[in-house]
Amino acid sequence: MSLIPLLVRQRGAATLTFVVATLALMLAGSASSAVASDARLGVVVHTWSKTIAADARSVSLNARQRHPRLMTASAARFSRDSLRARAAIALQRPSSSKGRRAKGLALRAFGDYTLAGRRWAASGRARLRGHRRDATTLARTGATYATNGNRLLVAAGALLS
């Protein structure tokens, strides 16, 4: 057997080995990065959920203490943080279909929270002006948005768990 054909065959086998190993590593890499991007979305949603919860507790406390000015400011913060949460979630790029669905639900949840916060703030201002009927209507509209947002956020959380 001559030496040259043997070397060519060996080089071909080595190339095949290299290609297969590279493909296997790429497969492993893409699978783990897909999970990593979904996990990152989860971390962002969980973090902003905590912020929103803290803001909501402030709104609650101010309302219970009958402090409409403070409640208005807390509600404005709640609305602003919801908007920031939405922006942060929009930047995420989930790779699985479950992750993409969770992202859509979370975006709409925080969108509803933004509107709820605005209604609550407007309700507080109406209360300060002595317009009780307007205050009540705005508070009810805010509650509708909040309920819808809650449902969507819990659904998003379930998909990300």
């Binding site: 929103i52 009958r66 009780r132 508070a139």
Partner: protein, 126 residues
């Protein structure tokens, strides 16, 4: 001849090994960090439920405050300059989305009766 066999068997071994590693990652994607991810997501679900609970509580309290005929606690209700400006900023935003409010309230009402798939036509993704 022997060399060719060695090379062929080596290639086969690497191929099987590579596919094994790939399928292991695909089947158990989180690999070595499974406990951390599991803990985070379990706590995370709790975070969303806790947030929903706190928001629902706030909605109830704001509604009760709005309907409450008794006078407000004027003395304790002194907001800082920052809070005042926040509230004023938000007032502008609030006036801007009056139309959105009316449309959105209708959407939310319908969302309450439909399933999740029906909600997708609402605000949409990015």
């Amino acid at each position: 001849m022997v060399r060719r066999e060695i090379v062929t068997w080596s290639a086969a071994a690497v191929l099987i090994g590579g596919l094994g590693v790939g399928s292991a990652f695909a089947a158990n994607p989180s690999g070595g960090v499974t406990p951390t991810v599991t803990t985070t997501t379990t706590q995370g679900t709790d975070d969303e439920e806790q947030a929903a609970s706190d928001v629902a509580g706030a909605a109830d309290d704001v509604q009760s405050e709005a309907e409450n005929p008794t006078a407000d606690d004027e003395q304790g209700d002194q907001s800082s300059a920052d809070d005042q400006s926040e509230a004023q900023d938000d007032q502008g935003e609030d006036e801007d989305d009056q139309g959105e409010d009316q449309q959105g309230a209708a959407t939310s009402g319908s969302n309450g009766t439909h399933g999740e798939s029906g909600d997708d036509g609402g605000q949409g993704d990015d």
